[in-house]
Point group: D3
Chain length 326, copies 6
């Protein structure tokens, strides 16, 4: 199946990869209000928002940074041989509206936007933005039924509040459960580590029944067993992927608000994402990319590559579902 011309990345054999406007993976920029929106299968979206970050900010520039870095992504997955642009219509939808001065207003704008995507049956891959954004995204995508979540992160994000604020980058995995958006049985968190504010940092998830794989656990069990756990916990049913780049070791992702040493390798995440083949994937985010905090640019390069990994398995999942509907 050859890809639709309107949804192909710029051809790197004609236009050098360093050339022209930076879009996600050199995809074409389409509007969700445009006439061809109905034909889009997977939407690559920026969410330039960082008012929910409590230490170092800067993730508002994440979408721009990842777009620029994603110039070097090509078209075919080297291991799975998936060609996402052949099997799905993929577009860069630009950035979701936000209010740069108002956390609450932004959260509402984000939710509204993803509701529109959801209504248009566009599966989103969002680039944050701080890790507040899964809350409004899940409110849009998981309204009908709670979903499973594969959550890579250095932190559990299950605090109740920070500085009196309930919706921020430290609380999404608590809020989402309280709101019935996630199915605790089908939640798995990987990469947890870092010193804690108190005993309560991960307590909520324990009580809720999340499967938590701390970095200690991960090292003990090995990646293969972790992949088995991912498969088992996520099971069947819809799955959302949330990747906070601070789940990665900071040697690969220093451009983030709250780095924690001793984290996952990009390779680990690559292989775990590839193993999602066959799951019903409904959306994903890559969050906490703060380009200005990484003078080498590696954080954005890593994020761009992991976005491609997500795209490959999501495109496969979407294509399968489309075929099933045929």
């Amino acid at each position: 199946m050859a890809g639709d011309e309107r949804f192909q990345p710029r051809d790197a054999s004609v236009s050098p990869r360093f050339a022209d406007v930076a879009t996600f993976m050199r995809c074409q920029r389409h509007e969700i209000a445009g006439e061809i929106a109905g034909e889009i299968d997977v939407g690559l979206v920026g969410v330039p928002f960082d008012l929910g970050a409590n230490y170092r900010s800067g993730a508002r520039r994440g979408p721009a940074g990842v777009r620029e870095a994603s110039r070097l992504i090509r078209r075919v997955h080297p291991t799975s041989a998936i060609k996402p642009f052949d099997i799905c219509n993929v577009a860069d939808l630009g950035d979701c509206p936000v209010n740069p001065l108002d956390l609450d207003a932004s959260v509402r704008l984000i939710q509204d936007y993803f509701e529109r995507l959801h209504a248009a049956r566009i599966v989103p891959i969002a680039v944050g933005g701080d890790h507040t954004i899964p809350i409004p995204i899940l409110r849009a995508l998981a309204r009908e039924r709670p979903v499973g979540v594969l959550h890579f992160d250095g932190h559990a994000n299950t605090l109740d509040e920070m500085f009196g604020t309930k919706v921020n980058h430290a609380t999404f995995m608590r809020r989402a459960h309280e709101e019935g958006l996630v199915d605790a049985e089908r939640v798995i968190q990987i990469g947890l580590r870092g010193s804690r504010f108190g005993d309560d940092d991960i307590g909520y998830g324990v009580d809720a029944g999340y499967t938590m794989i701390t970095i200690d656990d991960y090292e003990d069990m090995g990646r293969a067993k972790a992949i088995e756990a991912i498969d088992r916990v996520l099971g069947d049913g819809p799955v959302y992927i949330s990747l906070d780049v601070d789940g990665l070791d900071p040697a690969y992702a220093i451009g983030t608000g709250v780095p924690e040493i001793g984290g996952l390798l990009p390779r680990d995440v690559q292989v775990m994402l590839r193993a999602l083949s066959g799951k019903e994937l409904i959306g994903a985010d890559i969050s906490e990319v703060a380009p200005d905090l990484d003078p080498s640019g590696l954080t954005c390069i890593t994020a761009a590559n992991l976005m491609f990994e997500m795209l490959c398995v999501i495109a496969e999942s979407v294509a399968t579902r489309k075929d099933g509907m045929g």
Copy 2:
């Protein structure tokens, strides 16, 4: 007059300047709630807040950056020979409380804090933080009567609102006037330049009667005439100094949210600040220092030096008033 030992910077002939905890200009860190607070004349204060910034954030780390850079400040002004630590009791008071997730709450916290300083007759030199902070500071310092303002900036900061928000880094010179905190006749803005959103960007100040010296004006008139204008406009009466580092040319202050090319030289600001000798100076801020955006560190070094310039004239002013009261 020899300085009080409790208010002397660490002695650079004993403790190298690179040594020990970084405080503003190596001053001692005192609490305003402490027993000796009543003896403090000039308080050096950080205001680590940047939720009012609409382009690049990062000024929350300004106080830390300026403290670190201010290690190289010495004790005597090379031109005026003022020795601020001999004529006033100067202390690093730490950082003003803020809420990192709530713009409005932070504005209230900042106002409360500066009201306490004001009540304690401590003249503050604040290091921001984005340029929202003069609003709560002026609410605290200028409640009794409108004050004159010497305002260095690349932007007039007289918009009515941004994204529906009234108090942010683009509005302080409008809000302050509306609230009766500044005396428009005694306001002078220097360094204005940069492309504009619309005709209205500087209109409010024109209508209010501010004296505005754009960079074109500044170049035409020369620094000496600008100093005459400063002197004439500020006249007698209380004066507040507000320095947005984007008033400076970005070759000297790239670590800021909204740089504009073609700005003031640090030397210009140094000389203009020195010329304030004899004025009744009631406080000052240096805002929009975002250290992570300047890999060379020059922005913080420049800010630290301009803080010392402010300290010298403010200390002289305070000492004169104290003597007058003696």
Copy 3:
């Protein structure tokens, strides 16, 4: 006159300036092959080419860097009050085709592309790319008659060849004259300085009759007299503007292939560009921006602002001509 909606930059009061895909000054990205191409007055174009650079390369990434930095440009000129987007239809046309492995082929591709622009009566503002690019651009724009050139540069670019190559970043002002593309009487070069390979570095221009203002001359005569010289030399008739950012002092533009200390200030160039009001401006380039060589990002910020200066006078010139044709 209100601007055509299809040619307006994204509205910064709705979409924050840091949001969405980076285009030049947040203008809309249009194709020159598109249906509305005939309505475009001014085309902002990248030329991502650096095979003509003989010391440090990296200017191939100039267009991407300037697009990203140009997010902070607003809509109204602070001095002239020109609103370029109201008086002209301005679009980001993407990047000109180039061959990243073949100097000669790229030069032909660039010439072809600008011939298309020229045929479509689109006035180009090009962002390079190394300073080879004015050769193919002038071949496209100046075929009918030789043009005047306002050339800001640290180097005269009048060598005969480098390493046996005739068309490269050190020869354009010689080739262009040899090919009858420039009117030597109407050429003015400003900012020349830097050590020389030999006596011949600037000799060609002397013989040809170029007006050369070295940095020594510039300092002696002052900016006002330089502006008079620009006005006198350029006179009436078509004018092309070529700005090599190494004409600027490297404190403002270290991100370039061959920096030379002691150069022009961005302010100088701003004011000289503003003084072109009334000239018949047919195109411009900003060259030798190599973003990876400037960790602070100032080079790109400076280039973006100078691009706005060019846009304002060019838009005025174009609008005048359109009116004259009405």
Copy 4:
């Protein structure tokens, strides 16, 4: 056991972690000459000294860099659940006196200072400074009896002299043994690698009976066996920990004087430090952090986290001893 208020870090739920003066892990800054010095259990101390470095200097700024980075440390260990600030009185004691122009004088000043700490029964965790500093520290701490040493490093530091100088960053593990400060049977060095000046680089330690685990050995035996070796070699009795950050792989610690590729992971060191539970820990240093050589800041972040690891096991050790004395 709740922690003494005077020895608690600033509360991150009240004062954001980016706020206020940077102290080690946001602990309170106390003077060892102060009235409450007698109550301090663990002293966090900077030793801003780098005159003993023979390649790249800059470790004099290590304490400042680590203080700033340690803002993001929280209160509870994620694996051991140790809460160091609850079980010990911990303070930032500022920086040890040094002479920035005199190696020998500095070594004496450092020794004097640590003797005062030792006399006050304060267990020190020192942040260097180059790796000369363990010599004067051990002279202070190990005078009564030789101690065991857990030494992480890329180099054995057992040269006899460099450039005619006996006490410098390449000799401490030889001098300390010659002076009877370390018990060779209870010394273990981990991470040794890097090209050598000659056959003699590690010969002294071999002869003395040190247990040396080169990076080849470490890889062959695995971390678990290395931990067994650490446990066996250190045995009972007092243990000093010395961590040269060049023991780490330079991807995690490029900000150091003499990086060597192919080193330990921060995770390795974390786990090995955690395994010290139960040992009699008498002090520690983290050396060779040169912040200016790491533009990403990761070296300081890594050092701050490893300092927290040290603090947890040391606090446990101290608390156990205090209880034993109760």
Copy 5:
């Protein structure tokens, strides 16, 4: 065997390693046209060429960067105890001639130069330059008979052409085979990964019979088995080593044109290189080092160390052959 004085690196116990002109590993700079050229066994050569790179350029500055970083290399291998400067005459031969404006001319210049080295029986270790350079080098070294190749890379470099160009940094492993320069049976490629342009990216090598160890394979088989494969594939006969630093994980080598996440560790390459003991090594290159793209300098430090690894095994190989000839 003591080394010849004329071929010894500067003595680090007399001249500090940071001192004097930077040559490779502080070796003496000799001319191949010089009188002692006939005595040189191993020549360290820069090839400052990057016109064959299709994404980010900058490898032209690789030789300068590696020379500077190689200051910290010492004289003895820590594991094998090889002392290369004692068993071979090693010299820094400066940089190979190139034409900075002409790809084809440069390729010819490089070939000519390495033919001269080959004729003089000097075994070269080249520092690129982009990965075009093995083509002319192999044309010089492998003319008599096809050679085995140990190829570390993130990419297979077996494309047929890019942008109409046959000799560039993406084609050398195809061209070399087509030209009969490599023995496909004795070619092994390690580290392949990264998204692909199409199905054809690695197809040529598959068809030719190259042994390819992708990063997936490498992880599955482990390093020990990879070393066995290297030994088996290379067998007896002449072997050339080609190391593209993008074979390494970008945490260790971000200063390169086309980084790919999830790569080899420097440690992996170190150990694999050490395992070449006993092979007939005829030359090597380290390519794609672009210093300006790595603000930390780690890429150059890594390259310098891997160059020392190569030197040790190559010197051993050369010394063995010399002995065999005795």
Copy 6:
């Protein structure tokens, strides 16, 4: 007069400027012990020493940084048309011996080395190294009679001691006078500014009779009058030039130990150096270049260019003297 082939820089039309080993201005590296030493007129020498610096160190890497940056220097002065390599034999003599661990020993080594140069009638241009180095240099060059000094600096360097040390980077202009090496009547210091430790910072020079032009003075009098003062003060007789790069504004030289805002422009120093034509110049230094503190590299580029300015006037002076001797 054509230059001697053995003393010509590498030809940039044959070997690209980025190619080969970095020497000062691409000059040939000769040994002062070599056979042709007697023919060298001007020696370019590194002095990689920074043990005399009391704030930020790193100037030990200055010679390496300036060598690398000086690749872009060409052969002819653009204003004076001096061709230094045609009129003098110029060589890179490598680095002066130093002891990286011993301030006093280094000072002796430096003095010994410059005595050898002096004996060989080689006029040195030294690149530091911190600003301690003029003491041993002047001891070597000015032993016979006191010399005039043109001293560019942000600091007077006339303290009596720092931390008990008499010879360091803050004292050379006092020591040199006390030792009878400088003629106070013929000393001029330009660029003095920056906060002071005490009243005494510049007092010694005042008493001794130095002509001091603070930055305030410089601005008041203008550059032309400053040049007159230089001419008048230096008069006839031998002149030594000492340039601390912190005399420059830190926008141009942030890579230095103790930057001070509001300094000289590189252009100022260029023009003042050019005005030395006709003086009897006996040597020069450029000090306090610390490359690692300037991520942009501008400090080294500036230093390299100012070194070329020095070389031109010094070569002219030497050639004149040689002619006079002919």
